[in-house]
């Protein structure tokens, strides 16, 4: 308990930054992910190819490598300087968007083919089929797995500790400078992550239960 109370400043700063990075990355990866998901189901074959290549490439790249590109590589490109937190968020957004796109696409695909055929039969256009018929129905199939993606995103923010970003994963490095007990520190970090993840999982279960009944 002392380890936590004597270093509350570090813990609060670390987890505040983790939550901030999580929230910003979640919003932007949702936007980018939906765009890429739409590319993947588009009637234009070149758009589909772009979407598929993006998803296959990003899903097969370790996040740590992506962050290394941005955190260590970007400053050498002579572009406007960005701080490490922003660069880490960009890497998180690009990475997570590929997972969001897959959730979106499989949500659309989970709707019975008859729905699309019926919509087309009454003369709706492709845009209308997607926005009026499929998305409203796919929504309940998309939200629970989307929360799983966000849980992974929350945990993935810790990868940024390898690249001098102060967040929850980097608390222990600072604590070792203060000469604190690392085991206790890391157990506290793990405990708070457990609480945060359980919170998100509770939201997920609530949605699942709500839609399972109706």
């Amino acid at each position: 308990m002392d380890v936590l109370l004597n270093n509350l400043d570090l813990f609060v700063l670390g987890f505040a930054n983790t939550v901030l990075m999580f929230a910003v990355s979640a919003v932007f990866s949702l936007l980018l992910g939906v765009v890429i998901g739409v590319l993947r189901i588009s009637p234009s074959s070149s758009m589909r190819a772009v979407g598929t290549t993006y998803v296959n490439l990003l899903r097969n790249t370790p996040l740590a490598l992506l962050m290394m590109f941005f955190a260590l590589g970007y400053p050498k490109l002579g572009l406007p300087a960005l701080d490490y937190t922003t660069l880490a968020i960009i890497a998180l957004v690009l990475y997570t968007a590929s997972y969001v796109a897959e959730v979106f696409r499989s949500g659309i695909n989970s709707i019975h083919v008859g729905q699309t055929e019926a919509a087309r039969a009454i003369g709706l256009t492709f845009d209308q089929v997607i926005t009026v018929v499929l998305v409203p129905q796919a929504f309940r199939n998309v939200v629970p797995p989307l929360i799983s993606v966000f849980i992974a995103l929350l945990k993935n923010t810790t990868v940024a500790s390898g690249f001098s970003v102060m967040q929850a994963g980097a608390i222990s490095a600072n604590m070792s400078e203060r000469g604190e007990n690392l085991l206790a520190t890391l157990l506290w970090v793990a405990f708070f992550f457990f609480l945060l993840v359980m919170g998100l999982a509770a939201v997920q279960r609530k949605f699942e239960r709500k839609w399972a009944q109706s």
Binding site: S42, M47, R59, L65, L72, G73, L77, T116, L183
Partner: protein, 281 residues
Amino acid sequence: MSYATQDLFDVLGPKGRRKSNIAGFVTITVVALILGFIVVQLYKSGQFAAAKWELFTFPLVQREILETTGSTLRAFATGAILALILGVLLLLGRLSPARWVRTSVTWLTETFRAIPLLVLMMLIYYGLPVLGATFVTPFIAVTVGLAIYNGSVFAEIFRAGLNSLPKGQSEAGAAIGLRKGQVLAVILAPQAIRNMLPAIISQLVVALKDTALGFMVTYPELLYLAKFYGTQMQYGSPIIPAAMVMGSIYVALCLALSYVAVRVQKWSSSSGTPKKVKRND
């Protein structure tokens, strides 16, 4: 996959084809602009200069990269095997008739899945020595971390696979007098494994990617090497070339494994259709 995608739209008419061509052209142009901008910036900042790549022409460096790829794969293979074993153990715990075993194993699985893998690895590498466990090497931290996290994910995959089987299967097994363990081993497992194989392999891809976290507990894998070469001043600190080399290796390894996953998925869904039974009469 393509089946459902194709059904979202009719065969395009002349107007639709024109619209789709324009949209495709715009997409390709935007992507080409972004990629072109990146390449130009890389070129302008001298990332393609021969001096920055010279390091990777040395046989010694190439051998080291090859060896490091080996140690990445070693950590992955060890971690994956341990994870599969742990997954089976956790599954058995969750199927246990004793309620306290079930609840505690459930909590254990949930906890392992909720802790970020990096924190788990750091707990093992920096935390355990506090208790006097001085034998912890980076290799142990990486593999045990991978095993604990992926093991709990595997337990969930296994459970979902068993639950997806019709209840009649285990009831029929019990009806012909098999014991609980026999029902699991002889009736349920063979059927469930085929359904679960795609999910298992895609989780293995995740595990392979996660070995990259090893560099934060000083395990000498590919990213560790990239960072090391990237800071060699006498070769112009080639961090971007180093990340490109190591990145391509990682992506190639993961794509190969993903390709296996796709093949297995095709195989398992095609062999799921009942075959004609030969009659010998």
